[in-house]
Subunit: 321 residues, 2 copies
DNA sequence: GAGCAGTAGTTAATCGATTACACATGTATC
DNA sequence: GATACATGTGTAATCGATTAACTACTGCTC
């Protein structure tokens, strides 16, 4: 910057004003400065700028697993929305581990992100408190924590789950296997509670960890126990369950009815196509980014609840008639 | 930091020394400083530190599309490897657009990443030159550019493609549809060249853009033209092609043989499971991260070529006998 | 022509760390 | 007891920007 100033025969203050579009400099000076910038190929140092202004134009996003297409889609949406507002997004992968999540959150805070989007790995509010205590704008995404005091953006699957339960019961299933998420996550618990609630005693629950492997294991146990219908509570566990079903040579829906919470582009390609509860991922990402930007802006956004929808495709068999 | 120093009754220099594990401070002073840090909940400002040290402990990763599981997996691997070396990764989404790619690269440079991993959207070397001119360590990943002068990490699918071609020809296919990537990407061109080369005149090529929609369209055209076998050059176009095949009610492999470049966890779940050329994505990500770290370290890593493997699963029909 | 306002630009403090250099103290050596 | 050397700590410059406060100049009014 000093070089540019010298080159243009002005002070660094003037260069800075040109850079930041301040009113002061004469069109003529402005020209000279811009020419010097061009000539020297100067690019401002964002670190120095941020240090001075205490704004990094950066949002932090900590998610559980980038390999989970659900989160990838959310990340993508957040990123798009943020960019269109002039913000960058730094993504952190917590790998469903509370410890790694905490590490990442702290790293992001150390780098002075302007705000943080968090998909909490567990119910535990301590990390959220820590962030709030630091005064950093925070929005929770997809999941919440006990006694959360910050805006939350999530999908509401109750209606869809109730509808799904009604169909399963209506079709005469009496042993319905639920491959649930971890009970210490809000999504894991709530979805399962709603579904088992509506199934009134017909449900058998096995908890997984939102990963493929746990899906296969849960499916194996539930099928062994005589389940005639299986509902997986996220797409990765669904993938695992489908693998197990296939490995056992079971036919959907003839031998077993099947549904997944979370849609994926390849579900319609299976035979039969898989019935799902589709979450509005893109909207969730957008809404979360917007809430966070509002918070950064000093406004107080409301919580957002978007509805997930039941999409019938055939894998429930007669339950879809 | 000043507060901590005051609290511990020392100067900021000493605090800094404790923080950075310098030899100097007395165990006793160290204790006092650490106590003060603890008490005040002090966390060092990474911006200020980076400004002073000119090192951000951050790598930039610019990929074409986070929604493409291939890149998501790579991103994940890069991130893991980087973290284990004490580095953070900032991911940028170029969305297969050269322009957005350039924007992102510049943003990352402005933030003074210590090194950059780039999956170039096109063959054009100008962006790469710009980065190199800036003296920032750079490694290309998955794709290369014309006359690249920096380390490149990629998968070599020649052998697998040749093997695939041999099988298709051997099984008597005479109109083989190739859903190719964009000709202005190295992967798009090279894969297609190798395959069509080994198919010796039996290939019909339609270029897509590595996205689902273009896959369906290409598949539609090729099937209309009488193709009895289809090869998609990446998983998203493969997804699109499968959709089209299904929409037309064609049976794999009876009506049409099918294979995809890129494996995905759900390919084995289809009926029949899809034959693929699997790329070692995790290894690619790791290798790229390691190469970049080496470069940052002042060493000169070699190019890395990992081999992609043909995985036969049944979707080629008699070609797999 | 003195007084005032307005404009364009400069000087220097500042953000929060790191670190070369200076300084004070204690120990070993002759 | 003077000299040298090691050791622990403090002082202040520095990284590259932003910006409040100030200066210099022009032009206008009375």
């Amino acid at each position: 910057m000093k070089d540019v100033a010298q080159h243009a025969g002005v002070s660094t203050a003037t260069v800075s004003r040109v850079l930041n579009g301040h009113a002061a400099p004469t069109p003529e000076t402005r020209e000279r400065v811009l020419a010097a910038i061009e000539e020297l190929g100067y690019r401002p140092n964002a670190l120095a700028r941020s240090l001075r202004t205490t704004s990094t134009q950066t949002l932090g996003l900590v998610i559980s697993d980038l390999l989970n297409p659900f989160f990838a889609e959310i990340a993508r949406a957040v990123e798009d929305e943020a960019r269109s507002h002039g913000y960058c997004v730094v993504i952190g992968n917590a790998d469903e581990s509370a410890e790694q999540e905490a590490t990442y959150v702290r790293t992001l805070l150390d780098r002075r992100v302007d705000g943080l989007l968090l998909c909490p790995a567990t119910d535990d509010p301590s990390l959220v408190r820590e962030v709030s205590a630091g005064g950093v704008p925070l929005v929770l995404l997809d999941r919440t924590v006990r006694g959360a005091t910050c805006p939350v953006v999530r999908a509401d699957g109750s209606e869809a789950l109730t509808a799904l339960a009604r169909r399963l019961v209506g079709a005469g299933h009496t042993r319905i296997g639920v491959i649930a998420g971890p009970p210490n996550t809000s999504t894991g618990r709530e979805r399962t509670d709603v579904l088992t609630g509506s199934l009134g005693g017909l449900a058998q629950v096995v908890h997984g960890d939102f990963r493929q492997e746990s899906g296969s294991q849960a499916a194996a146990r539930l099928v062994d126990d005589g389940a005639t219908a299986l509902v997986a509570m996220d797409n990765l566990m669904g993938l695992g369950a489908l693998g197990e079903i296939r490995a056992r040579g079971l036919q959907i829906p003839h031998d077993i009815a099947f549904a997944v919470f979370d849609d994926q582009p390849w579900f319609p390609l299976l035979d039969p196509p898989i019935t799902v509860i589709a979450q509005p991922t893109v909207e969730m990402g957008q809404a979360a980014a917007l809430s966070l930007l509002a918070l950064i802006d000093g406004r107080q956004p409301d919580d957002v609840r978007l509805t997930a929808k039941l999409v019938l495709r055939g894998s429930l068999g007669e339950a879809e008639l």
